[in-house]
């Protein structure tokens, strides 16, 4: 049988593959093959075949190891007393490995002869699903909403360059114009602070107070209004000049 085997190393998946094939050619259980015969066959094949150099390493390592194994097995037991066990153990190990590979190869073949899904048997081509996914809802949790609000505000602030709030400061000229417009219609004494413009923040209000006071003083100097203050820190009152 071995003579009729045409072996091409590249057709084998490594030295173990070849060894298994050679063992099979002995037509016995892998556990009972003759390792000596196996080694001879292997070495013969290696010598006969033209091995591509890049593929050679594995094959040659195996060949060297088998040659060593054979030499140990051929020597009379007493001459290899120290190494005998080693060689025996390795022999057992090789046999086990071949048996395992053989078993796995059978398993592989067994599997490939099963009815394959997609080759021998087919599933439903257009399966139906009985669940419909409702994506119309929305995850609504309040913390997320609030975080979004805070996040948006913070980000916007961080991005915005610092810009002092524009102030609307009441000028003396504006205060004079306002006083002139109003005071003529009010002949009796009025508290000066009533002539302040509406609104504004505290700073703007203080500016308006100052401007209105200066406007009152300026107009009093020109004789357009009269001012009086009954007590220190008391309200300042104003009225149109009796002469004017």
């Amino acid at each position: 049988m071995s003579d009729s085997l045409t072996l091409h190393l590249e057709g084998f998946d490594g030295p173990l593959d070849l060894l298994l094939e050679l063992a099979r050619s002995q037509k016995v259980d892998v556990a009972r093959i003759s390792i000596l015969a196996l080694v001879d066959q292997y070495l013969e094949v290696i010598e006969r075949e033209q091995i591509r150099l890049e593929l050679a390493a594995d094959w040659l390592v195996m060949a060297a190891w088998l040659a060593w194994l054979k030499s140990r097995l051929l020597l009379p037991p007493e001459e290899v007393a120290g190494e005998e066990e080693d060689a025996e153990a390795q022999l057992v190990r090789l046999t086990e490995r071949l048996a395992e590979l053989e078993a796995m190869r059978r398993a592989s073949l067994w599997l490939s002869r099963r009815p394959w899904l997609g080759h021998d048997v087919f599933p439903r081509g257009a399966p139906e699903r009985f669940s419909t996914v409702d994506r119309s809802g929305v995850v609504a949790d309040l913390p997320a909403l609030l975080q979004a609000y805070v996040g948006a505000r913070r980000r916007a602030i961080a991005r915005r360059p610092y810009r002092p709030k524009p102030r609307r400061l009441w000028t003396v000229q504006e205060a004079i114009a306002r006083l002139q417009a109003l005071v003529g219609k009010l002949p009796s004494w009025q508290v000066l602070s009533r002539f302040l413009p509406d609104g504004g923040d505290p700073v703007e209000r203080r500016a308006a107070v100052a401007a209105t006071l200066i406007a009152g003083l300026e107009m009093a100097r020109e004789g357009l209004v009269e001012l009086r203050q009954d007590a220190p820190w008391g309200p300042i009152e104003v009225r149109g000049s009796v002469d004017g």
Partner: protein, 179 residues
């Protein structure tokens, strides 16, 4: 069971698309009467859990409609709102009624039409008239659905703006009116 019928049954079962009578004819044994086979198949599945139906140019198996309705489970998979939409919603909730421009002003970035549309589609916001300013932009406010979804009895259940954003922060922002 007749061989042609077995083949037709297997093919219609395994095919991803409806099986046309032409395709069936190519697979059935020589000399089969395709129409008769189809009729036999339809008959074989009459009153069963699945039935044979003719759809767009071919035949397919379909679950019997009464069972399909019974077996169908609706799985709710609510979406998370994208960040931009969530922020827009929060701003509208706090500053309503407000325009898209207001939202952009507050977020400090443009708001895509799709974000606004997503909120509209979900029924979370609704138009609240127009602002009488140039361009008469639409005003937006939140809806009853918004309250329901977020488990709020009323808008005032939302924490106050000042509680969320510090005063110095809000001082920098030209914002009018509290919720």
């Amino acid at each position: 069971m007749d061989e042609a019928l077995r083949i037709a049954e297997a093919l219609v079962f395994a095919s991803e698309k409806p099986v046309t009578r032409d395709v069936l004819a190519g697979v059935l044994p020589e000399g089969s009467d395709v129409d008769a086979v189809v009729d036999a198949l339809v008959a074989a599945y009459g009153g069963r859990g699945v039935e044979v139906v003719e759809v767009a140019g071919g035949i397919v198996f379909r679950t019997a409609p009464d069972l399909a309705a019974r077996l169908t489970r609706v799985i709710e998979a609510p979406r998370r709102l994208p960040r931009a939409a969530m922020e827009a919603l929060a701003i509208i909730a706090y500053h309503q009624p407000c325009t898209r421009g207001d939202v952009e002003e507050i977020r400090g970035t443009a708001l895509s039409q799709s974000s606004l549309e997503a909120l509209l589609e979900l029924g979370l916001i609704a138009p609240r008239g127009r602002r009488e300013s140039p361009g008469r932009p639409a005003l937006w406010g939140t809806t009853e659905t918004f309250l329901e979804k977020f488990s709020l009895r009323q808008l005032t259940d939302l924490p106050k703006r000042e509680e969320l954003v510090t005063t110095e922060t809000s001082g920098l922002l030209p914002l009018n009116g509290a919720p």
